[in-house]
Amino acid sequence: MDYVIVIVLVLGVILLVSSPLRRPSDPTAVGDDGSPVQKSGEWIDIEAARDAKYRELRDAELDHQTGKLSDADFEAIDSTLRAEAIELLRRLDALDEHEAE
């Protein structure tokens, strides 16, 4: 009985780990040069930085609302953060256009 179970398990493992290798390769997943055609690492990095920037904007707003930042400091930090966020959005747009080409 033990041998039967072991054989079933071995077959199950082989089926599980080999299934990606048995699938026909996805032309959208890998480009001609072998690099992934999906969103590039740079795009994902900038997207993460953009989301972090939004969170930073929200934190600054909460700090201002709870009195930790004066109006003047908040204005300065908020405008700096928004400028940085805009720059990130522009870079994302540029990458989108580049990847579309």
């Binding site: 398990l9 699938r23 992934p36 934190d59 009195g67």
Partner: protein, 744 residues
């Protein structure tokens, strides 16, 4: 079933090796099919390990003593609950538990990130499988939980579980610790992946942050459960002894605490990349170092598995992790350069950095003092053991600074803070901290322990700062929504889980540290030998030994004492403490009767009256000395009777001897008389006023420690719990639209 388990372990190892090769090949050739195959190897490993663990659990539940590990750590008399937990009481079973938990957590993180981190994940997969493979190899070749004996050699009864491990905490303590350790491997593996791939942004941190928090939470809960076990089971009245294995769990916990704070600086400002990578690599290495201490037997500890041959493989793994980590960080040092600098020393970033330095300093101190016995042995040839006094002069001041920083940090904004704002925020918490300190000096004797007094002040400051932050945040929310206070408070936490979950954790830290400072500085304890009817005083409480007790069950014999505690003539508590004697399997040495009274096979049940302000803690060591003549007499009588029956049986053919012996002994009511003799001897204990040695303790605010730990864990859970998707989207969209307006 043993062969099935062994085959699965070998299959585990094969899957690990395959997965490492497939992942690295996929990463180097950009073949996503191979990368996916490597990831699926982790899923397969998890499924196989769960099956293997189930096989082991079934062997314990069925009392299958053909499994060596079941025969060594279980018996038919232990409750089912403890049979389920017995697998991780042994080196072999705990290695399998490690592989199982590691593969489950690894599967989870790789499933969550299956469409992201495409350049990092394959290397992380290889690291995770490499580490799981290491443990699977140990379980296969060095400490196999599926080793069996031949049917002829299979004992009819097991040696039983160590009585000290028969405690409810043991159901959860080891799995929690191992979950913490194995979860710590996840940010470690992704950091290695980020370093190899060169993708050193914040993405890997964002995707593994919850796993780092999970490691922090599980390891923290495991440490506290261990402390609770020590307090209620070990019979010395303490919860933390600066034991090597306790320290081995605390060090990675402190390191990951530093990490989950400092990654916020990298996420927000792109700073401290080298620092964060170094922290997480050190935490991962320390987790394995802790495992090495538990399993190698190089240091003495009640928590360790004792001497083993696993030390050398662990030293090799630690060497690879340590030097590999240093090599990778040096290789990528240019890419790890910071993008920004700290704007001001009066900023939350600066406070986080300072807090990180304090945590790392604590780890440094604990590490060297823990290793001191090994260092002294290497230099002088003598292992010099060190205890709590070696740690406290360094750790206590650092802990006070840490508590102060935990209060200061939340009150300072990111990037910069002005002096006028600081003044406005600090007035209430500082005043509250000073007021509490002053009141303690005036109305208590707390000033005789200056460090404890300062800790009370610092923790009060921290509590006030968190309360103020909650109040201000809720006020700000109410100003926008006009909600009722409780609604606004809950909404504030729901919308800012990370921030306010962290504040709640800080609150828990304050409560916990008050408990630690009070109970360790103002504890009153006394050893006393009393006969029934005698009394002794501890810190104004009169402990009166009322009467002895003796209870005989099939599982154990418990000898106890009833103690009446009074203060100023009024009863405070009526406590019962006992020592349970579990039958030993060594009949040849202990005797047929003596095996039921073996003090090496005993545990203690404390008498505890826990309250919000103080615990009354008692334990009694059963005095069996007066019973020894009776026990010895019983041993002789029953051995003579047994030998006489055996002599008759030996005349029969060999194949009939065993059955005939059992049959004759049963027919002559041998076992009935033996049990009656044991019962009679136990009853003598209550009929005579034998003197008993007691340890009696009055310990203030111990409950605060457990309550603080619960608050700390709740804070961690809130910070870890993902915000509902709708809230996240709404929140991001507000800022997206604001920024978008500016672009247009």
């Amino acid at each position: 079933m043993g062969r099935l388990g062994q085959a699965i372990l070998l299959l585990d190892l094969a899957v690990c090796i395959y997965g490492v090769v497939a992942s690295i090949y996929g990463a180097r050739t950009h073949r996503t099919d191979w990368v996916d195959s490597g990831r699926r190897a982790v899923y397969a490993l998890a499924a196989l390990s769960v099956i293997a663990f189930a096989v082991l659990e079934v062997a314990f539940l069925r009392n299958d003593f053909s499994f060596k590990v079941v025969a060594d750590t279980s018996s038919t008399t232990i409750p089912t609950f403890y049979k389920l937990t017995a697998p991780w009481s042994s080196q072999q079973g705990s290695l399998l538990l490690w592989v199982t938990l590691s593969s489950i957590w690894s599967s989870l993180v790789l499933f969550v990130t299956r469409r992201r981190l495409r350049d990092i994940a394959p290397y992380a997969t290889a690291v995770l499988l490499g580490m799981a493979g290491f443990f699977a190899a140990l379980a296969s070749f060095s400490a196999n939980p599926f080793d069996t004996t031949s049917p002829a050699m299979t004992p009819s009864q097991g040696a039983g579980l160590d009585p000290l491990l028969m405690h409810p905490s043991m159901m959860f303590h080891p799995p929690m610790l191992y979950s913490g350790y194995t979860l710590m491997a996840i940010p470690f593996a992704f950091a290695i992946g980020a370093l190899i791939s060169g993708n050193l942004g914040s993405e890997w941190i964002r995707d593994t942050r919850r796993f780092a928090l999970g490691a922090w939470l599980f390891l923290g809960v495991g440490i506290i459960l261990g402390a609770r076990w020590s307090y209620t089971e070990l019979g010395w009245g303490g919860y933390w002894g600066w034991d090597a294995v306790e320290n081995a769990a605390l060090m990675p916990w402190l390191m990951i605490t530093a990490f989950i704070h400092s990654i916020q600086i990298q996420e927000k400002r792109g700073m401290l990349k080298v620092w964060n990578v170094s922290l997480v690599l050190t935490a991962g290495t320390l987790a394995i170092f802790g495992t090495f201490l538990v399993r190698s037997g190089v240091l003495d500890s009640i928590h360790a598995f004792g001497a083993s041959t696993l030390g050398v493989p662990f030293v090799i793994l630690l060497g690879i992790m340590f030097f590999g980590s240093i090599g990778l960080v040096l290789w990528r040092r240019e890419s790890l350069k910071t993008e920004h600098r700290i704007d001001s020393l009066l900023s939350r970033e600066a406070m986080f950095l300072l807090q990180n330095l304090v945590l790392v300093a604590m780890v440094f101190v604990i590490f060297w003092i823990t290793l001191f016995p090994l260092i002294s042995e290497a230099i002088t040839g003598t292992k010099v053991s060190v205890g709590p006094p070696a740690f406290t002069p360094f750790v206590v001041p650092l802990a006070i600074v840490l508590v102060l920083l935990a209060g200061i940090g939340p009150m300072i904004s990111w990037r910069r803070a002005t002096v006028s704002n600081l003044r406005k925020h600090f007035v209430f918490p500082v005043s509250f901290g000073l007021l509490v300190t002053l009141l303690l000096i005036l109305f208590t004797d707390a000033d005789r322990k200056p460090f404890a007094l300062v800790m009370f002040g610092a923790a009060s400051f921290l509590i006030a700062s968190v309360a103020q932050e909650m109040y201000r945040g809720t006020s700000a929310r109410r100003a926008m929504t006009r909600d009722f206070w409780p609604v606004a408070f809950v909404a504030l936490i729901r919308r800012n889980r990370r921030r306010y979950g962290g504040y709640i954790a800080h609150l828990g830290l304050a409560v916990l540290m008050i408990g630690v400072a009070a109970s360790s500085s103002f504890q009153h304890s006394r050893n006393a030998t009393l006969r029934p009817g005698q009394s002794v005083s501890v810190d104004g409480n009169i402990f009166h030994y009322v009467r002895p007790t003796a209870v005989v069950t099939s599982e154990k014999i418990s000898f106890g004492a009833v103690i009446d505690v009074t203060k100023n003539g009024k009863q405070v508590a009526l406590l019962h403490t006992d020592q349970g004697f579990y039958p030993s399997t060594n009949t040849a040495q202990d005797g047929i009767i003596g095996r039921f009274f073996d003090s090496a096979n005993a545990d203690s049940t404390i008498g505890l009256d826990a309250g919000p302000l103080r615990d009354i803690w008692t334990v009694a060591a059963a005095n069996l000395q007066p019973l020894l003549p009776l026990i010895n007499k019983g041993n002789k009588l029953f051995a003579d009777d047994y030998n006489a029956t055996l002599k008759q049986v030996l005349k029969l053919p060999k194949s009939e001897q065993s059955n005939a012996l059992n049959s004759d002994l049963t027919k002559s009511d041998y076992w009935v008389y033996r049990d009656a003799a044991v019962q009679d001897i136990a009853n003598q204990y209550t009929k005579h006023a034998y003197p008993i040695q007691f340890l009696l303790i009055i310990s203030p605010l111990v409950s605060w420690l457990w309550v603080g730990a619960i608050i700390l864990a709740i804070g961690g859970l809130i910070a870890m719990w993902p915000a509902p998707l709708a809230i996240r989207r709404r929140s991001l969209s507000v800022y997206r639209s604001r920024v978008a307006r500016e672009i247009s």
